[in-house]
């Protein structure tokens, strides 16, 4: 299947909390989901899909996803997790005309306040760079 680089945001968990618990379970080996299922680090995409459903993440994988790569980070190793270049370009293209969309759960930490719209392309590109910088190095803290 040909890749469609304009679809970078079609892989969105509906329940970020459960998705986060699943990631923590994979990362630590502890069961954070605790609903009777086992959550070993998946070895296949089918196993990923089963665990996504079992953990009630609401996350479905788009058709473009054909392979699985698992990288286990270490605290003594700088893990440069580089985003796919086609998706970086695609989001830059989108942000030329559209605002940045943050997951809505952030609003609830700001008393229901919606994010202030970014005024122009320059501001959106600045925020894009900040976001990529943040989630590429924050190591899930």
């Amino acid at each position: 299947m040909a890749l469609n680089p304009t679809e970078p945001v079609d892989m969105t968990p509906i329940n970020y909390e459960n998705w986060g618990k699943l990631i923590k379970s994979w990362a630590t080996g502890d069961d954070y989901v605790r609903n009777g299922h086992q959550y070993p680090v998946p070895k296949t995409l089918d196993e990923v899909k089963r665990q996504l459903a079992a953990a009630n993440t609401g996350l479905t994988l788009p058709a473009r996803i054909q392979k699985l790569q698992v990288v286990v980070g270490r605290s003594d190793t700088l893990l440069l997790r580089l985003p796919p270049p086609d998706l970086v370009k695609a989001s830059e293209k989108r942000l030329a005309t559209e605002d940045y969309a943050l997951p809505a759960f952030y609003n609830e930490h700001y008393d229901g306040a919606s994010p202030t719209p970014l005024p122009d392309k320059e501001a959106r590109m600045k925020f894009h760079a900040q976001r990529i910088g943040d989630y590429s190095i924050a190591n899930c803290q």
């Binding site: 509906i14 329940n15 970020y16 909390e17 459960n18 989901v33 605790r34 609903n35 009777g36 299922h37 089963r50 459903a53 079992a54 009630n56 993440t57 609401g58 479905t60 809505a104 759960f105 609003n107 609830e108 700001y110 008393d111 229901g112 306040a113 919606s114």
Partner: protein, 555 residues
């Protein structure tokens, strides 16, 4: 095999006749109080009295809810039910039942679960106790605030203040009050000034409520104002004017239910039994209260109609999660609605000459995963699935409602012709096999054992069965036989037995005339709302309010 539950006696209220085992004011059971064997059970035990049965129930319903709560993308749409009817059905549900405490949360010694709503389908969900009991929902008639007659509405954010801009329910900030959203001086509009806060659960529901509020205000404005009068006559005249506008609005609402919503929802053969001058009731003389088999069983079907995304206002793909955040509770700083979010009603009902609206999703035992979103419907206990499916199933299973088998038996005895036409009702073995096939299809995700599947197929929770039946019998376009019977018996029953003073058999126009004559002498509505369906209501309001070409669009 039943699981080992926590040690102890009855998990819900101890001795019989207390807790949810005791009286449930405002509720009843269809076909009368069931015997123990006629109630929903878990392996022959009542989960309300047996900790072991409750533990087994919880495990099985976790699996069933996981199967139901993750509808895959691309589910088929229902050409019979544009999306607006999803929310009209929810609004109607709110006008029939208001459970004081969810059954799934009703632990403790005496939770006192009751249906707090009295006479159904009288728009109490909109009017509450009226301006006296719910003054916040109504605007003062004048600067002295002697009376209140019109619904209070909010202008959309950034509006100039002209009459056409009041398109959202009223919302208020409460700075300086204890618990104000955003701190002592926070200005977020965290309070919806409506009689029933449930109608602000989602943007579509609050917008639908606004439609009926606008109708009330339009009708009120058509009636002569009382002018300057002595206090007593002013009060009497004001009360009469309010009463006429209220009852006329309620007449329209009931007319729309009868002529628009119910025909779309019900099996045609079932509808024919009820929608006539001499309905063939299953229960000719029911007791007071709303049947639990309706409120917590059949009428949960609307949750399966919800879409993942909607075309709404300016947006082409707003998610249901977005709509659930556009309210005073979750988004006090996002309301009043901005012009971009205001509903264009042609997006939700089929209006003449307009593009096709959003369609609801075909009925079936699957809910949109959007309901699992962060913070919407959290797990009841750790390990439970988030979302509405598990809550629906748990509540239904803890009401002590009739089992599907008991309902089948009564229907087969009372309506043998209908039962014979329903493949699920006519052949119990085939029914169980079909249910088992659906329930057993993904055991790696549900963790349901073969024994669990067999037990659930033999005794399915009613909300699940109603949706399964709709998909199996009606290809998801409307309810199946049992679902139609439970809904028709209850809703037509409420319309027939809880009549408004002006209602008769001769149509809406005559009822409006009788209503005006009773309160206002010779005065009549110069432009009566002779509305049969939701497109008609939208068109009527657009014309009366001059909103046909409004910006932001109304239709």
């Amino acid at each position: 095999m039943t699981d080992r539950g926590s040690q102890g006696a009855c998990p819900f209220g101890g001795a019989a006749a207390s807790g949810i085992l005791g009286p449930l004011p405002g509720f009843r059971h269809v076909f009368g109080p069931p015997a123990a064997a006629e109630r929903f059970q878990v392996d022959g035990q009542d989960p309300r009295t047996s900790p072991a049965a409750l533990a087994t129930l919880r495990r099985r319903l976790r699996g069933l809810a996981t199967l139901m709560g993750t509808r895959p993308p691309g589910a088929p749409e229902n050409p019979n039910l544009p999306s607006g009817y999803t929310y009209l059905a929810q609004f109607a549900a709110h006008d029939m039942v208001s459970t004081s405490m969810a059954f799934w949360s009703a632990g403790g010694p005496d939770p006192g679960v009751a249906n707090a709503l009295g006479a159904p389908l009288r728009l109490r969900t909109l009017y509450g106790g009226g301006p006296g009991a719910c003054p916040f929902a109504f605007a003062p008639d004048d600067a002295r605030d002697q009376n209140r007659s019109r619904f209070r509405l909010s202008a959309f954010a950034g509006a100039g203040g002209d009459a056409a801009c009041f398109r959202d329910i009223a919302r208020a900030a409460t700075p300086g009050t204890l618990g104000n959203r955003g701190g002592f001086s926070g200005t977020g509009r965290g309070e919806a000034l409506i009689a029933d806060s449930r109608n602000d659960q989602s943007l579509l529901l609050s917008q639908l409520s606004t439609l009926f509020m606008l109708l009330h205000n339009v009708l009120l404005d058509m009636l002569p104002k009382p002018g300057t009068q002595a206090a007593r006559s002013l009060r009497e005249r004001t009360a009469a004017r309010f009463a006429v506008a209220r009852e006329a609005t309620t007449l329209v609402f009931r007319n729309v239910l009868r002529h628009d919503l119910l025909p779309r929802l019900l099996d045609p053969k079932v509808r024919a039994l009820y929608d006539n001058p001499a309905p063939e009731w299953l229960e000719p003389e029911p007791g007071p209260g709303l049947p639990l088999e309706f409120s917590h069983g059949a009428f949960r079907f609307g949750h399966a109609m919800l879409r993942d995304t909607y075309r709404i206002g300016r947006f082409t793909d707003a998610t249901l999660a977005d709509l659930l955040r556009q309210n005073s509770t979750r988004g006090p700083n996002a309301v009043p609605l901005t012009r971009d979010w205001l509903v264009r009603w042609s997006q939700f009902f089929q209006l003449p000459g307009r593009p096709a609206p959003n369609l609801s999703i075909k009925l079936g035992p699957r809910y949109t995963p959007m309901l699992m979103g962060d913070g919407f419907f959290d797990p009841i206990e750790p390990g439970d699935p988030a979302g509405v499916a598990f809550r629906d199933l748990m509540s239904a299973s803890l009401t002590g409602m009739r089992s599907v088998g008991s309902l089948w038996a009564h229907v087969a005895a009372l309506r043998p012709g209908l039962a014979a036409q329903s493949p699920l009702l006519a052949d119990p073995a085939a029914r169980q096999a079909a249910l088992a096939e659906w329930l057993g299809r993904d055991s790696a995700v549900s963790l349901l054992t073969a024994e669990d599947v067999a037990a659930l197929a033999a005794e399915p929770p009613l909300p699940f069965y109603i949706l399964f039946e709709a998909e199996h019998e009606a290809e998801g376009e409307r309810l199946g036989t049992l679902g139609s019977l439970l809904v028709a018996e209850t809703v037509y029953g409420a319309l027939a037995r809880e009549r408004l003073a002006s209602e008769g058999e001769d149509g809406l126009g005559s009822a409006l005339d009788r209503l005006c004559a009773a309160w206002l002498g010779d005065t009549r509505f110069p432009d009566p709302p002779l509305v049969e369906d939701m497109p008609g209501l939208v068109g009527y309001l657009a014309r009366r309010l001059g909103l046909e070409a409004a910006d932001p669009a109304f239709i």
